[in-house]
Amino acid sequence: MRDTSAEQGLGAAMAAGVPKIRVRGLRKAFGPKQVLDGVDLDVAAGHSMVVLGGSGSGKSVTIKCIIGLIDPDEGSIEIDGVDVLRMSRRDREAMGDRIGMLFQNGALFDSLPVWENVCFKLLAQNRISRDKARDKAAEVLAQVGLAASVGDLSPAELSGGMQKRVALARAIAAQPDIIFFDEPTTGLDPIMGAVIDGLIVDCVKRLGATAISITHDMASARRIGDTAAMIHKGRIVWTGPAQSLGHAGNAMVDQFANGQREGPIQMELRR
């Protein structure tokens, strides 16, 4: 996905001071544990950012704060220049209509067939009739490489890779302009991981969407990201081009990307 023009576009958008998503001073504590300790993040419109970090570093909490699943203690989250934390509940729900999310484990609804999962948002908002939803689901399933007949299966009948594809189809069915991917390749074999990455890149490009992905998979990060940000102990410690991961010149990023045991990041072991 990343190319020279993308980086130039990112630079231009940042220079204009109007990132699609702008996070400032985000703080969140759960009891005594300060999970986010002042996260600052900018994502330009139409770009794909990958957020890296160790387990418990605050990646998922950051995304959940942006989506509105968790209320932060402090800070601001702007989407298109509007602070979503100051919005009324109704406006925030309307903002949610523009957002898609692929969850780590798919989070497909067990009680619904695949076609209803895919078109759930469209049906919930009465943007489509149930009759037309089947056709729409077949169309979106085709975009993620699945046959229309998959639509009649239940999520429990699908393999892990197929569940991810259906979850991706559900995330893009309502044509959001911001999409979040939470560890999209976790639990998949390397080939299926590459397939899912390819689908993510295609879908984001086709929709012209802005994407934020969380991943531990460096190959995946380089494939789907234009830019990357590293979060450590609740703060963003580095941002840069995703292609530079592994040779970023930042000791923390290089240690994490290359999977080195020795380095500035120390594993916290409980005894």
Binding site: I67, L69, E93, G96, G100, F103, A107, D110, Q125, R170
Partner: protein
Amino acid sequence: MAAILLDPLATIGRATLGACRVTGSVALFALEAVSHLIRPPFYLRLFWRAFIEIAWFSLPVVALTAVFTGMVLALQSYTGFARFNAQSTIASVVVISLVRELGPVLASLMVAGRIGASFAAEIGTMRVTDQIDALTTLSTNPMKYLVAPRLLAAVIAMPLLVLVADILGVMGGWLIGTLKLGFVSAAYLKSTFDYLQFDDVFSGLVKAAVFGFVIALMGTWCGYNSRGGAQGVGGATTSAVVASSILILALDYVLTEIFFAR
């Protein structure tokens, strides 16, 4: 000495604060759920699915409970009342006991075990597998989608179930009365209906509606707040059944007191 005194006090204090926290949480949850019942959109398909699950699929277990309860009640009443030569009042005792107390309470306890556990397990599993978060990201309020239809379905289905339980329980008593205890069928039935008043039936059905609300509320609340994977879902299921059973018995006294005062 001070430590001995302070520790129990601290324990009681913690327990009291915990109980207040839980009570407040359940009350806010109930208020929000009820508010969604009167605000669109309405999920009629989900309401209908929950209604069928409660009213239709609980019918066998409720029916069996009611029939056997009626039979046992007739036998036990006969044993006791025969000592005072008051056998003729058995039919009235059976019908009033069933309609006012045993029908609503026993049917509700059965449904609490079946439906309360099912609600808690289903919603709890959705919680720990991120499906509830997914609902939010799909522009759907989880309270409106998961909780409100179940509450409404339980409030409507329980009185219907209890009405069936009342009828079957009386039939159980009639069966034992006529086949085993030697009552004349017509006389038994006449005695049943002569002493039965509208208020008896009405109070039982009101109890059933309240118990239905409690079962659905505790099932959904426990599931909605479950944490920690399979163990958390198991705990939520157990809590839902225990809490709703205790609340049913406690509220039964409160409602009986209210109706008795009338």
